[in-house]
Symmetry: C2
Subunit: 166 residues, 2 copies
């Protein structure tokens, strides 16, 4: 397990936040995953400044989430594409969309919908039981230490349980 | 639909990133959702500076994700608890955990596991068909305009489709 920049603790959620860097990084990944590839389109879509867009494209590339492909020379111009690692971010963006939709008036106000192309049905993330494959309904979910838990991670879980019992 | 600070565009994912503010906000929400409540525990868990922790607790409270409860007077001391809105962030953190686990060596290295307390089985987020309730296997998912789409949102989707067809 790779330790990350957050005080060297091991946390998978933190490693995703670190790779995205900030909300602008997340928005740029959203646009690239939606299929935008060119600098000017990314700029129009996200309304970020040139300085921020240039910096985030560099750090997303350094973090392995996107790759640059030259499509023109003299002057050199590049397109940006999510890597396989970058496409993993779809799960996080889908979760953010669902939560944001809930906060902003529900599905009937949703700016985007995810659909299964084969059926045209709307799809959404839900918790499933990894042994049975069945959807977990009204579940009582516990977060427990996994095989890669480190000392601070175990302390955090214990402290959380202790607080809840107070 | 509430417009958010990102160039006034309507984007549900962006409204979540805005509410969390940055990676530190996300980490603090992770800790509060795990049950930590007190300033010193939050500080130990996340290794953030006092200045950052104080600022993020204020903004998470201003954004309606957490509430402060006094538990002692003279000197006044407070505990921090996620609100119902704040607990919605669990979905986003679960998605980040799954992606981070994938990047960092898979379930056998995972620092945390989510389990169903009733069965003890591990659970994870997966896409389900909202009409049938069935899990979508090997799906071909399209992101399309929803009922709340605005002009820039429609442009973004069209531009993404056009780029992909090039």
């Amino acid at each position: 397990v790779r330790a990350n920049g957050f005080g060297e603790m091991v946390c998978s959620a933190a490693s995703v936040m670190e790779a995205l860097e900030d909300r602008w990084g997340a928005l740029i990944m959203r646009d690239l995953i939606l299929g935008l590839t060119r600098y000017e389109d990314l700029r129009k879509s996200s309304s970020v400044t040139n300085a921020t867009l240039t910096a985030r494209l560099r750090s997303l590339e350094a973090n392995g989430l996107i790759e640059r492909r030259q499509y023109q020379s003299r002057p050199d111009r590049y397109e940006y594409h999510p890597t396989a690692k970058g496409r993993d971010i779809r799960l996080v963006l889908q979760a953010m969309m669902q939560v944001g939709d809930r906060w902003n008036g529900g599905a009937e106000n949703a700016p985007l919908s995810a659909i299964d192309r084969r059926t045209g049905h709307r799809v959404a993330l839900a918790l499933v039981d990894l042994e049975t494959g069945n959807r977990v309904e009204g579940g009582d979910i516990a977060i427990v230490a996994g095989p890669g838990a480190d000392e601070i991670g175990r302390w955090r879980l214990d402290a959380g349980v202790t607080s809840r019992l107070k």
